[in-house]
């Protein structure tokens, strides 16, 4: 199968449960090697250099609880990509973290809490903020709203649309046709992709 994610748009990918959508998300981000074929990002294949990935791709997971370190407060979770790239000073990191938190609507008092002390919707906002901090060129979202209520779903969808408007290519994988119809610029079905 082949699939092209355009930059600056939300591409919806749908398919029935257990049709390999999550595996596809991992292959697309380079976490799992494909059996055959290649994943190319902006004309360069996805690869690792000296054990590091290049950070052009991001992945937003289905369950925010599983995708955050339970031993870190939200503030550290959001700032993690800054620390991993190790180029900014503490004050600058704090400023940018606060800015990202404000952008996704997390109040400052929430930033000192641990993942088990906030709701799934609040934690997924923190995951979106973390994805923004990593500043990927393409963001693969694997059922980003499956664990969320209607209100949080709408918020996360709009945050991701905002990201697409800034030029990031967003691939939204979901089994929720109604959501993708309302949210994505274009929807493709996994079953139609095989060739």
């Amino acid at each position: 199968m082949s699939l092209t994610v355009p930059p600056g748009r939300v591409l919806g990918l749908t398919g029935p449960s257990a049709s390999g959508k999550s595996s596809l998300a991992r292959i697309l981000t380079g976490l799992r090697p494909p059996e055959a074929g290649t994943v190319v990002v902006d004309d360069l294949p996805v690869s690792t250099r000296r054990g590091r990935m290049d950070g052009r791709l991001g992945l937003l997971h289905q369950s925010p609880g599983a995708a955050t370190d339970p031993r870190m407060p939200l503030r550290r979770i959001i700032a993690e990509p800054f620390a991993a790239r190790g180029r900014s000073r503490a004050a600058e990191t704090a400023d940018r973290t606060a800015e990202l938190a404000r952008r996704v609507g997390l109040t400052p008092d929430l930033l000192d809490r641990y993942p088990d002390q906030v709701s799934a919707g609040q934690l997924q906002r923190a995951c979106v903020a973390r994805a923004l901090a990593a500043a990927p060129a393409y963001l693969v979202c694997d059922e980003p709203t499956a664990m969320l209520d209607a209100a949080s779903t709408a918020t996360v969808a709009h945050l991701l649309s905002g990201l697409a408007a800034e030029g990031v290519g967003v691939l939204a994988i979901s089994h929720d046709h109604a959501l993708l119809r309302a949210w994505a610029d274009e929807v493709v079905d996994l079953g139609d992709l095989a060739d």
Partner: protein, 626 residues
Amino acid sequence: MSEPVPDPTSPTSSDPLDSQTALGTPDTRDTHHAVTGPSADAVPSPAVARPRRRRAVRILPAATLAALVAYAVLVPWWAGTQTADFARALLPPGPGQWFGTDHSGYDLFVRSAEGLRVSLLVALVCAVVATVLGVAVGAVAATAGGRVDRLLMRTTDGVNALPHLLIGVVIVALYPGSLPAIIASIALTHWPQIARVVRAEMLSVRSSEYVEAAYLWGASRGQVLGRHLLPAALPQALVGLVMLVPHAVWHESTLSFLGLGLSPDEASLGTLLEVARGDVFTGAWWTLAAPAGVLVATTLSVAGLTRALDGGRPGRRRGRGPDPLPVTLPPDGDTSPDSVPPLVRVRSLTLRLPTDDGRWVHAATELDLDLRAGELTALVGESGSGKSTLASALCGLSPAGTRSSGSVVVDGREMSGADERAWRALRGRTIGLAAQSGAGTFTPVRRVGPQIAEVVSALGTEETVPELLERVGLEADAAELFPHELSGGMAVRAVTAAALAGRPRGLLADEPTAGLDPELAAQVLRLLRRVADSGTAVLVITHDLQALETTEVADHMAVMYAGRIVERGPARRVLSEPEHPYSRALTAALPAHGLHPLPGMPPELTDPPADPSLTDRTGATDVVGG
């Protein structure tokens, strides 16, 4: 009703930690609540001794160990250098010499302190060296993986298979009386357990999604190790270290007792035991009792400390602060003129849950709700609006320390303030709960069918597993599956089957559609509708408005926001023409209605607004109106 009016302020669970209720004499209760009745659930006072004992378990070992360390450090310093005085040899314990004297006339009180100091020092160095070695090996094995991992773990197995004492004897025999040799002989044989624990913990964290995400934004292996793997494994390693200390004390004492350890000039406890061997036969029991007693006390206190470290984590929720509940009276009699009383009637129910930092979560405030036979009521609202807390309260399963007021009448019986036994008679039989966690409700190691059969036999009904499975739309051979083999939709059905096993007259389904795709969610809701049509009162707690709108299964709908029910009415009306601004915003957030995000976030339930409206939502996103 002829039964006494129950105390409306009693917590639904009789937790002994809830000091105010558990300890409360009628007088102290009256000072807090103007209205109290004869208390039906007075907790007998012995129950309050439990928390105190639990605290003692945590403090006693630490205090004993601190006393022993002070003894080992201060006594030799205070006594100074001792000289042999054969005139005072082998005196029994007495006022001048508390632990007696040995055959050289040394005071055993001082000698034991010196011995303990040496023993503890050796043991601590051994434990630290072994732990550092174990963490290093475990971390390298878990991070490198592949061939390095296999090589290191086989080495670990090999070292673990060696007889520790024999290795110790061989090493110490090669370097007699050498302190580094003793330390090496113990440390080099005791790191494998720690390496195994550290590796196992790190492997589970390494496969987590947050480590996946970290690699994606370009984190190196070292960064992942330092930021995620080590913080996860270190608490375990610390427990291992503490457990190693008494072990190393004994190990070193054994070597010294065998005459292979330290010389009598720098005596450890083991050396003292060895020296005492000859004197015991002449009747001087104290020469053995003094060092042995100190040794046993040290071991016991460290072992107790380990237990406290391991099991004494915080997380026990206890409310402090002032009593959060205003005085409220449950209304007398039925305020609604309906002829058929509802199965469950909730009036003015207020629930306050304690937080760790002494504040109160206002999970429910002044709730009114009726559940009637044959009707399906949907309770909707955002996550964290208090929906699940209400479901727990309706089954008498509120968390420990919860304060409640108001009235919950189930099947004509007032249940607020009822004790565990009264609730147990209702659970499963009158009210069934299909909990939120789906497959997590079942024991993972056994097949589903027998587990449902167990529920049936526990509740003593005539149901059979095949009939129950058929009612929830599962094939009969689903009974042969293990919980992890169930898909999300099947898990919800199986949980519902278990909840129906007692032929309950009311069914509470907590988020039955969470994580299901729209097709499956609709099927599950239709199943619950069939349950209601068979004469059961059904409460569906969900945030899935979309599925409710598509399937139109609900008769009544209540919208919950910030712990209050802000709107209720016929489901069709609430969905199509919501009146409260929050209900309107919630329906507008649905994909079919334009996916409009709500402004900000719901207010904190620890500090809820007095009058909930959309204007009190905290924070703001850039996406509003986008």
